[in-house]
């Protein structure tokens, strides 16, 4: 076949054909090299983006940890002022009213002082536990939420319900810290703005993800309007931080009918 092919066309044509084929065979590697080089440049860009994302995540995590500590310190300060400060003032007042000549009242006042002192000690112990904020998260997300809610229950302003039946644990401590901070912020929002009387927290988990739902029966708000206010630790930041741990934050609220914030995060 090849021989017949040769015989049908002239040698000049064969030369031309060989030359042309060789030129094409030289051009092809040029494009291939250009493609490999340009792909390599894209790979570099992609790697830079990955590094940037990692750094941003680490910064955000650090910020979150600091915010958790800050929140703890605020609670401590409030408690020192509202609780322990009051108890110690009462002790001082009680002690100052003791009249050594009124023997009949001395005993009851000492018993009262003793009671106040014990309550102060218990309060201080509780505060000491709270101060170990990081230790709190190390015990697990559910335990940290429970502890935080215990504190909130003492105010007796809210009817609080916490369900965590299907929740076991999350392997990634960074995710736990982030979600715990989101929980704190949602609770802060409820305390400051919602005017609610009832708070329901549900922590659920399945094979691939876990979900934290915080709902209240407060005054509610316009979600779109609040999301556009990209300032502070608002709703926008809750969504952004949830996205950083590959999760989603769904916010639903109707003015006058309370609000529901659901944070879903993949377990791995």
């Amino acid at each position: 076949m090849v021989l017949r092919f040769y015989m049908q066309i002239s040698s000049e044509e064969i030369i031309f054909l060989i030359g042309l084929t060789s030129i094409i065979f030289l051009i092809a590697p040029c494009f291939l090299i250009l493609y490999v080089l340009s792909y390599n440049r894209r790979k570099k860009k992609h790697l830079e983006e990955k590094v940037w994302l990692k750094t941003t995540f680490e910064n955000e995590l650090l910020k979150t940890q600091m915010e958790v500590q800050e929140q703890t310190l605020k609670t401590v300060a409030n408690d020192l002022h509202d609780n322990i400060g009051q108890l110690l003032s009462l002790i001082t007042i009680t002690l100052s009213t003791i009249d050594l000549e009124e023997n009949s009242k001395i005993a009851s006042k000492i018993i009262l002082t003793d009671d106040l002192t014990r309550r102060s000690i218990n309060e201080l112990k509780a505060l000491s536990r709270l101060l170990h904020g990081e230790e709190l998260i190390s015990k697990g997300l559910a335990a940290a939420i429970e502890f935080e809610l215990e504190w909130l229950k003492r105010s007796e302003r809210y009817q609080i319900s916490f369900k965590k039946d299907s929740f076991k644990s999350v392997a990634d401590s960074a995710k736990e810290t982030m979600v715990f901070r989101l929980f704190q912020e949602c609770i802060n929002n409820i305390i400051q703005h919602a005017k609610a009387s009832k708070i329901v927290i549900i922590l659920e988990q399945d094979n691939s993800s876990f979900k934290l739902t915080i709902s209240d029966n407060g005054i509610g708000f316009n979600v779109d309007e609040k999301l556009n206010l990209k300032m502070g630790m608002g709703l926008y930041n809750i969504k952004r931080r949830a996205a950083m741990i590959n999760g989603t934050a769904t916010i639903t609220s109707i003015p006058g009918s309370g609000s529901v914030i659901a944070i879903t995060v993949p377990s791995n």
Binding site: Y6, S11, I14, I15, I18, G19, T21, S22, F25, L26, A28, P29, L32, I33, V36, L37, Y39, N40, K43, K44, L47
Partner: protein, 218 residues
């Protein structure tokens, strides 16, 4: 003067570049290239001498030179793949197939003709090896500045040479049979001059990159 051609000059320049930049290289695969280029220069000069002074065919010499060409290039590709998956068995299988083909063709040609089929198969295998190296590089998550990455330019030169010579290899029998188009400045000669210049330029650049890389690490 007859010894000064595009081929001999480009080969000699590349050999000198190899000698200067690879002499102290720690990798034996790279150092082996110096010896290979020296051999190439000797073969090229000897080929011209045999053809022009002794007036006999230099085909046996070029048949013989195919052996180191295949072994050195294959070993070099093997050393490049080593970082990804060191599979010695593929190198051994390929070299065994090559040897069988080479000697079979030599015997069938009665040692008179060039082993063009073996050379064509070898070219195709080296083209595939080069493309496979690109594939590994694209898949590799580790970033490398390819513009200054010696193995990349060595492979690119090899790809240019073997891919570009495919047409000549395919029509080798025809080009040899017709003396009217196989004179000194035949299309085959011109193409191989261009390919040689490209190959040895790329390789020389690769040697420089290799030298700079070694210097930056030390």
């Amino acid at each position: 003067m007859i010894f000064i051609t595009f081929n001999t000059v480009s080969e000699l320049a590349c050999f000198l570049a190899g000698l200067i930049f690879l002499f102290k290289d720690k990798d034996p695969a790279w150092r082996l290239l110096i010896w290979y280029l020296l051999l190439t220069c000797i073969v090229e000069v000897a080929g011209i001498y045999i053809r022009t002074s002794l007036h006999v065919s230099n085909i046996p010499l070029y048949n013989l030179s195919v052996l180191p060409e295949c072994f050195v290039t294959s070993y070099f590709f093997y050393s490049l793949y080593k970082t990804y998956h060191p599979k010695t068995k593929w190198l051994i299988i390929w070299l065994s197939i090559f040897m069988i083909m080479y000697f079979t063709e030599l015997v069938l040609n009665h040692f008179n003709n060039f082993v063009s089929i073996t050379a064509s198969v070898m070219s195709v295998v080296f083209v595939l090896a080069s493309l496979y190296y690109y594939y590994l590089k694209l898949k590799d998550e580790h970033f490398e500045r390819l513009l200054f990455y010696a193995p990349f330019w060595w492979v690119s030169g090899t790809l240019f040479f073997y891919f570009g010579s495919t047409a000549c290899n395919l029509f080798f029998d025809y080009l040899i049979k017709y003396p009217s188009i196989s004179y000194e400045f035949s299309v085959r000669y011109i193409i191989f001059c261009i390919l040689d210049v490209i190959l040895y330029s790329f390789w020389s650049y690769a040697f420089i990159c290799r030298y700079l890389q070694r210097k930056s690490y030390s």
